[in-house]
């Protein structure tokens, strides 16, 4: 399933308290756990580089992560939320996700459960509010341009797969970014988009996108996405410890810090109303 579609469905539950979690999931699916690969830079075309970059999305199958999500206003004022995320994909492609707010205190214990069928219909979403001691069903919401009021759009969180399908790619001169030798790709949308083009820096050694720039009307830089603190996990997969989306025009930032990540199987019982009710 297209990650953007997933995100759209998930975002329905939102509400300001919980929206950030979906941003995280989307970004994780875009950036994390990219498989290392061996590429031979000089001969590769832009399309081939994108193929390599696609890798494996975050938490496909089963896994969990603990993250800190920080939104920063134009004045530099930051708001931080810490979340625990569990995810699982069943054999029939039904996707289950559970988010639990750990901090701050006013939302701690709030849980969000979503079960998304492969056809995208009849997605079920529950929100558990500890103050009320019970769960509530949450309705779907119309797709919005801006993803839950953060610095991400649905297009951006749709991941590289969308770039492959929806953009024409062109390889530019190689560059060095953050000490890494990088391929530089220019991606031009095939259909109407709010961006005129996107530039992507791909770390040559590991085929990891370390920076993405989004240009708008007049070819002005509008936003940038930076990943940093890349390290290999116990399974040899690369994980960034931080993802930052900066809205250059608005002067705002969304920062995601991955505190822990695991691909260990999550028990089915986590994705039940019963588990939501447990403390």
């Amino acid at each position: 399933m297209n990650p953007a579609n997933k995100a759209r469905r998930l975002s329905r539950l939102s509400g300001p308290k919980i929206r950030d979690a979906w941003v995280l999931l989307a970004v994780l699916s875009m950036c994390i756990l990219v498989m290392p690969c061996n590429v031979h830079g000089a001969e590769l075309t832009a399309r081939q580089i994108l193929d390599e970059v696609e890798g494996t999305a975050l938490l496909v199958g089963s896994g969990s992560a603990k993250i800190e999500l920080i939104t920063e206003s134009k004045r530099g004022q930051q708001r931080s939320n810490t979340l625990q995320i569990y995810r699982k994909t069943d054999a029939d492609d039904t996707e289950k996700q559970l988010l639990e707010y750990l901090q701050p205190a006013d939302v701690a214990g709030t849980k969000l459960l979503s079960i998304t069928k492969p056809d995208g219909k009849d997605s079920e979403i529950w929100l558990f509010m500890p103050a009320l001691g019970k769960e509530r069903r949450i309705a779907a919401q119309e797709m919005q341009t801006k993803f839950m009021g953060t610095d991400f759009t649905y297009e951006e969180i749709s991941g590289t797969a969308t770039y492959k399908e929806d953009y024409e790619s062109k390889r530019l001169d190689d560059d060095t970014f953050d000490g890494h030798k990088c391929y530089v790709l220019q991606l031009t949308p095939k259909a109407k988009s709010e961006y005129t083009f996107v530039k992507m820096w791909v770390w040559q050694d590991e085929s990891i996108p370390v920076r993405v720039e989004f240009y708008g009307r007049g070819d002005k830089l509008r936003k940038s996405l930076d990943t940093s603190g890349w390290k290999k996990n116990t399974k040899g997969k690369w994980e960034p410890s931080q993802v930052v989306m900066s809205d250059v025009l608005a002067g705002t930032k969304t920062i995601i810090k991955i505190m822990e990540a695991s691909e260990a199987d999550v028990p089915d019982e986590y994705f039940t109303v019963r588990y939501l009710r447990r403390r």
Partner: protein
């Protein structure tokens, strides 16, 4: 003077406790704190409100509240079982009413998670139902007061915890699963008469006035005299014209109040106090359906007044003088009831819908129907129901709207009683909430609840600023809709500006 000093002292102490909790414990703590290696977690909150009563022009401290909670994962603590333990204590002080509780147990329970069932044992809240605030199928925990609605609490109402055993199981077969829960309440939290003390006297005074007026009605005194005549001493009953004199004495009878208030005794025996509630739910596509039942005590007592005529004979010539008295006995009693209910919630497009209702058969209290008694409660069964919908919208779901219709077959939401002689009328209410959140820090909320029958209501706008993740502050006011002699118009807090601050850590 001494008592005033004492009140001021109590008031200061409560604020100090609140301040210590808010400032001392919250420093550097974003969300609770772990104590020791077992992961014992301590968290808390403190709140202070201020009210400015517009009609009285009086600015006063509102209520100081504070709460401390301890949580422990049982397996981490070495208990050898999956589970959780929770204890919370709280205190509050109402500065205007000069009353409060320094410290009381809030919730205290242990959860045990077994493969086949989950068990919660201890003082707890059992939150059933799908609606906001008004939950006809949430039988177990009484609500503290609907007056909290006036400060925008419609979506935050929670009941008072009770000692109980709650067993829940989640059987499943094929692609279907059910949610079954049984609650045994060991000691129901029966509430007193939910009326201010001055209302007791006002009601009883009104009844006294009504009795006196009733005796002046044509034929009323004569009828009563006919009934009382056999009670006269034999030597008097034969006196010519005595019945006429008795009727005249009855018209001039003195009405005497035997007690200034209604008070009810709770049931004594342990077994008699027990309550049982059950619920079974299933998921049907995008909808959840729950059926439930309850056998237990109503939260508040039924009220009635007994009027007993008495007579004193004063020897006089040519015929003795008769002094008649009408003694008023205010009576109150708790009663048991049986209720069946259903609740559903589901989604359709961007909307969430819910509906919930229960039908209650109270045990009959024969005094309510006894001739000569003045009853403020009835033995009639009643229906309570609610339907509503909400949705979020905006580019970041920052806007929220909710509407809910409430039907209360037993009458008013604010009082379960009707005035003597008043015809029993079901209550129809409409509640609406609109909320906008800007950058997570600023929240503007507009809450409205109105009584569709007497066209009264309240509009409560409230602005909340989240200073940081732990501290929020708010200011709001209440506007009265309709006349003052209406249900909401009678609330003293209905014309006030309120402000407050809360620290959560």
């Amino acid at each position: 003077m001494k008592s005033r000093r004492m009140l001021r002292f109590k008031s200061m102490i409560s604020i100090l406790i609140c301040a210590v909790l808010a400032l001392g414990l919250s420093s550097g703590v974003a969300c609770g704190m772990e104590l020791g290696p077992t992961g014992l977690s301590l968290s808390g909150e403190a709140e202070q409100t201020v009210n400015w009563f517009l009609t009285e022009g009086e600015l006063s401290l509102g209520i100081t509240r504070y709460k401390l909670s301890l949580d422990q994962d049982l397996r981490r603590a070495g208990a050898g079982i999956d589970g959780h333990a929770h204890v919370s204590v709280k205190g509050w002080y109402n500065h205007k009413a000069s009353e409060g509780k320094w410290l009381e147990l809030d919730e205290a329970y242990a959860d045990i998670y077994h493969d086949l069932f989950d068990l919660r044992l201890g003082q707890q809240l059992v939150s059933w139902g799908t609606a906001y605030g008004f939950n006809p199928t949430s039988y177990v925990n009484p609500l503290p007061s609907m007056a909290t609605l006036t400060q925008g609490g419609l979506t935050e109402l929670t009941g008072l915890p009770v000692p109980a055993v709650y067993v829940s199981a989640y059987p499943s077969w094929k692609h279907m699963s059910a949610d079954v829960g049984m609650v045994l309440v060991l000691n129901p939290r029966l509430q007193g008469v939910p009326l201010p003390e001055e209302y007791h006297a006002e009601i009883l005074g009104g009844i006294g006035y009504g009795v006196q007026a009733g005796l002046q009605a044509p034929g009323a005194a004569e009828a009563l005299a006919g009934a009382m005549l056999p009670l006269l001493p034999p030597e008097m009953s034969g006196i010519p014209g005595i019945e006429v004199q008795l009727a005249e004495s009855i018209r001039n009878a003195e009405v005497r109040l035997t007690s200034p208030e209604f008070s009810a005794k709770p049931p004594n025996s342990f077994t008699d106090r027990l309550e049982l509630a059950g619920r079974a739910g299933m998921n049907f596509g995008m909808w959840d359906l729950y059926l439930s039942g309850f056998r237990g005590w109503e939260d508040t007592p039924v009220l009635w007044v007994e009027t007993v005529p008495s007579m004193e004979v004063v020897p006089a010539v040519p015929i003795p003088q008769l002094d008649v008295y009408m003694d008023i006995y205010p009576k109150a009693a708790y009663r048991k009831a049986t209720a069946l209910g259903a609740a559903a919630s589901g989604t359709w497009g961007p909307y969430t819908f819910w509906g919930e209702g229960s039908y209650t058969w109270p045990d009959k209290v024969k005094e309510l129907d006894a001739e000569g008694n003045i009853a403020m409660s009835t033995n009639d069964p009643y229906l309570r129901a609610v339907v509503g919908a909400d949705r979020m919208f905006g580019s970041a779901s920052e806007y929220y709207v909710m509407g809910q219709y409430m039907y209360n077959g037993s009458g008013s939401l604010l009082s379960p009683y009707r005035m003597p002689g008043e015809k029993a009328k079901a209550g129809h209410y409409l509640a609406a909430v609109g909320r906008a959140t800007i950058h997570d820090d600023h929240q503007i909320e507009l809450m409205n609840i109105c009584n569709l029958r007497d066209k009264s209501g309240l509009i409560v706008p409230r602005y909340t600023y989240k200073v940081n993740p732990m501290l929020s502050a708010w200011i709001g006011t209440t506007f009265l809709l309709g006349e003052e002699a209406t249900e909401f118009g009678n609330l003293s807090i209905s014309k006030s500006v309120f402000a407050g601050a809360k620290v959560v850590w």
